[in-house]
Symmetry: C2
Subunit: 634 residues, 2 copies
């Protein structure tokens, strides 16, 4: 009979799990249906993520107040004492039978009574690791994978400045302001538990990750200025990575200064070291895995897509297994894959992978936002502190301002195409907080400080997504930002920000990396000096000779930016094609091309740019294929 | 310091988890690369699933013998005693701090020492529920979703006979034979623990689920006879559902006969009741959800795909929440969605959903098979009993034979197009066991009997997949089964098995269900009697009038099978079109069409079939669009 009771309980628990998941799925379904309605009627004031939160809130209210506490589970769980520390596996001996238990986590002494309170509410609370290990990776990967925009690369310098320097500034400004707020709370007597300086810095780190998904969706729909789009999108993608590494290095900073929790120079430098180590490690790992994934499984799109999916996921796991940050690795893996691997996929597979990650990203994002809405009512350890909340709202405003305005001023000193005032205001306005801030906040809600942070983060996300997200369209017109821009027709098309460093890298990438790693780009035999002929022929994919005409649009996007390279490529391509009509890949031809390439490369850059400005317009209108009139040759 | 140690252990455990998952992903990656190589070189003797098993075996050997037991975890977990029964949540009090533990399962007293042995091997052992709740649903759904073949519907009667009656016969034959084997083992003294009659029946149920995925892949590639393909595929899809419900009703049978574990008429009928209840409940739930998912979100393929995915998953969860079998519900949901919802999706979404489920199915299937290979070495409680294994091989042979040959004989009495001898031999040969048998066997490995079954099932899967799977091509030529058949050109095209029951249902489905549930099919105004005019107009989608020319190929496939309906539809379409050229949907026209439909319906069936035989050839060659010469009318 005892066995039967256990079985019944297990069955009941399984059923409860199904019901909980079902709740979320129905929430998502409802969200999708409403989004469709909104898109159909062109409603723009509420984005799908905002909508998901509202539905989540409603269901949260129902779960909290609408359903009577189930009596079945309303008994205090039995406890048992041990002298040793907590272990991951525990055996329970019930009259000779052994049962295995696994550690779920520490419970606050205050919460022990909660355990018995309402099992239902506790059940809909997910393990925070789910967010990090299952929901964030597809979102971040998709962001990296869809980043491949020439406007992004053109603004790379500014984006990196905002993301790295800006996020660090924002983190420290917010951290210090919040420390002031905490001191004030102490004076007023609103603080009932410990709240350290490092906690404030941690809050600064988690709340500095912006997520302007709502704003960007509207930008996309209205075809707002592409440079502004690139700046915002690039910043938000990169600062997620910065925030996650920043927060974990602040946590690493804590133990050594456990007694003071105040500023300590050596611990600070250790944190900086941890930051640099984790970040560069994750970056390198992501980039390397992204590059390694170069598939040649043409003709079998299913295999290609599956392989692609597995490799991205294995990047995440590999980074986690090595102690790096999987999410950051996945981001750079996505960027690298979009840049290199994408060119190796068959036409069919590029579509498939894009759609696959699109669906995964869509589901994960909406799930997180609806869970946020739900968490406001079902999470059991909220600490609402009005002073802290108001202080946080002011602090994030000041933090964002001290990121955008000073850095824009500095960047404008170096930029040929300045970031105008209205762009700066828009970037200020688009500082929404989203999935990453939430995931970082929910990761650890064990202490008083963390619980207060979690509650505040939740409210900040709600407010920014609804108010700033909803106000995007009016703001755009108020700031006189152009909409309805065709990305290919914007006036500042060329050479704006192709700084020498970027240009150098780009030349290297285009002439050497792309040919080695992908089937696209010029054959290596054309770009390497003639002495490396045999090596070049060995490394060049046979398709590189054949597939000239298949040079993809996104490639040409980049190439058109840089007239110098267009010419190199153009020359090469035509010659290569002429030769391949004969024997495919012959050594004399190879050395001949490289001379060609060099000649054009040595021409004065400025002169070329002037010449190409007009040529480019022509190329654009005729499309890439006409640059290489292969049909005439073959 | 204690806290730090715990944190370190948690981190170590997280890292270990990542490494384990990474192992599987690398296994899958390796499998994909090798499959590609095989496909490239047209190797047919080893299918991807067989390959995945081999790689799994290799990794299992390495894990078992290659890696020294990690010393970190090599301590016996502490145990603690309680008087009450096992509970799902346990609190552990370690010097004032509380930790929450969740129940993982019962541990055999023999295994307590295993717990301390090798943590690594235990870690790569997944929770069996993962197979049921995560890996099987996409496989089964995909099977249901890709079932939409006219050859399937044409052979529906035979397929259902093999799947239901055949699986039940096989289950009882195997169960009884195995009971004899067990008795023999008792006599010889090879049996060291209890092994009941119900255990034997349970073994019969789990091992009766066939999975000829290898055979079908080769059929597909060689274009073998389509009817044989339909019979095999249909049987294997359906008997998975039968086996899962059968095994759970045998488990339900156990408690009431707990003392005897022998045959008991009342308990038997109770089991039959449970079987019918669960099966019909799951069937109804799947069918209803499949039908309900009729989306109208055209223009937003992403939303459509996401919704489609969510609805299929929610079917699974809903069924589980209601105590039915999620896997069975998902199967029928897939079949229904393919039949109805598919027609409502936009062109883009049909592709997307197909590809999405294809990838999921591919990954899940290969994961299960590679896990099987791994489990042979890493699973710690194998019981290899030579007598039981040899007995099982003989029993499944006899069980399969007593399913196929007698039922084929009976079916041939009623079939116009007989199932020939060589087809029967091929069906006999194609009785491979796969994912479902494994998932059912691993679900519960607590007792001695179940562990022996698990080991035997694993060996049967290995043997059948490698030997029967690899021998498919020689077997096909040995049995003189035609290959290279164009499915549209096979000689027995019409009226073979359109039994009156099926015909009746089909007419109902085509004339009423399809128009109500999808945008395709004839407008309801044409099929309902004239008195229902207003209702018909209200239920008919406006697209039904417009989209006549979009009648999809798979629809026409079915229609062409059934001359009677083709004519009805043909008339209707042309008339409808003529009318819609005028005012779109007017009542008098509606009644006129229904008269038309009725007239052709009342013509003698035999005469029509003769007439249509020649007409059909013409239709086939001209394609569906020409049946409705809409261009001429509009």
């Amino acid at each position: 009979m005892d066995e039967l009771a256990t079985e019944k309980e297990a069955e009941e628990s399984h059923r409860q799990d199904s019901v909980n998941l079902l709740t979320f799925i129905l929430l998502l379904t409802l969200t999708i249906l409403t989004i469709w309605l909104f898109k159909h009627r062109r409603v723009r004031f509420l984005h799908e993520t905002g909508l998901a939160m509202i539905y989540g809130l409603l269901v949260g209210v129902i779960l909290r107040y609408g359903i009577p506490a189930t009596s079945y589970h309303n008994k205090t769980p039995p406890s048992c004492s041990l002298k040793e520390g907590p272990v991951s596996t525990l055996l329970l001996n019930v009259s000779g039978k052994f049962f295995e238990y696994t550690l779920k986590g520490e419970i606050n002494s205050r919460e022990i009574h909660n355990v018995e309170q309402n099992d239902m509410l506790r059940k809909v609370t997910f393990d925070p690791e789910v967010f990090f290990n299952i929901l964030l990776p597809p979102i971040i990967f998709h962001a990296g994978y869809s980043l491949k925009k020439r406007h992004f690369f053109r603004n790379l310098g500014s984006i990196i400045t905002y993301a790295f320097l800006g996020t660090a500034i924002s983190c420290f400004v917010i951290g210090n302001l919040m420390y002031g707020v905490v001191k004030l709370m102490q004076v007023v007597g609103q603080l009932t538990d410990k709240f350290y300086y490092t906690d404030c810095l941690f809050f600064g780190a988690i709340i500095s990750a912006t997520d302007p998904v709502t704003v960007l969706a509207i930008f996309n729909e209205l075809h707002a200025d592409v440079d502004l789009y690139a700046l915002l999108f690039g910043e938000s993608v990169m600062n997620d990575a910065v925030a996650i590494v920043l927060s974990s290095s602040i946590v690493a900073y804590q133990p050594s200064g456990a007694n003071t929790h105040m500023f300590d120079a050596s611990a600070f430098f250790k944190s900086v070291g941890v930051f640099l180590g984790i970040f560069s490690g994750s970056f390198a790992m992501g980039a390397v895995t992204g590059v390694v994934t170069f598939t040649k499984l043409h003709c079998f799109p299913l295999l290609e897509t599956a392989l692609f999916f597995l490799m991205s996921w294995s990047t995440f796991l590999l980074a986690e297994a090595c102690g790096f940050t999987g999410v950051v690795a996945v981001l750079f893996c996505g960027i690298t894959q979009a840049h290199y691997t994408y060119n190796n996929l068959s036409e069919e597979s590029t579509k498939r992978t894009k759609q696959l990650f699109e669906v995964l990203h869509f589901l994960a994002e909406n799930f997180i936002f609806s869970y946020m809405g739900l968490a406001l009512f079902t999470f059991q350890n909220h600490i609402f502190s009005p002073i802290f909340i108001v202080g946080a709202f002011i602090a994030i405003f000041i933090g964002r301002a001290s990121n955008i305005y000073p850095l824009s001023f500095l960047l404008n000193l170096g930029r040929r195409h300045k970031i105008k005032g209205n762009f700066q205001h828009m970037m200020m306005f688009a500082g929404l907080r989203g999935a990453m801030a939430f995931a970082l906040a929910i990761r650890d809600t064990a202490t008083y400080a963390r619980q207060m942070m979690f509650t505040t983060t939740l409210l900040i996300v709600f407010f920014t997504v609804w108010v700033f997200g909803g106000g995007t369209t009016p703001m755009l017109s108020w700031l006189h930002i152009r909409v309805g821009v065709d990305p290919d027709q914007d006036p500042h098309k060329t050479k704006q920000e192709s700084a020498w460093l970027f240009r150098l890298w780009y030349t290297f990438d285009h002439n050497y990396l792309k040919p080695i790693l992908t089937h696209s780009g010029p054959p290596l035999t054309t770009t390497l000096p003639s002495c490396c002929g045999p090596l070049a022929r060995c490394l060049t994919s046979p398709q590189a000779y054949e597939n000239h005409e298949q040079l993809r649009d996104h490639d040409s996007d980049l190439i058109l930016n840089d007239g110098d390279l267009t010419l190199t490529y153009g020359d090469t391509a035509i010659t290569a094609n002429g030769a391949s009509g004969g024997s495919g890949a012959d050594a004399p031809g190879g050395s001949g091309w490289s001379v060609n390439g060099k000649r054009s490369g040595s021409t004065s850059e400025e002169a070329l740019e002037r010449e190409l400005d007009s040529r480019e317009q022509e190329l654009l209108s005729r499309g890439t294929r006409l640059v290489f009139p292969i049909e005439d040759h073959v």
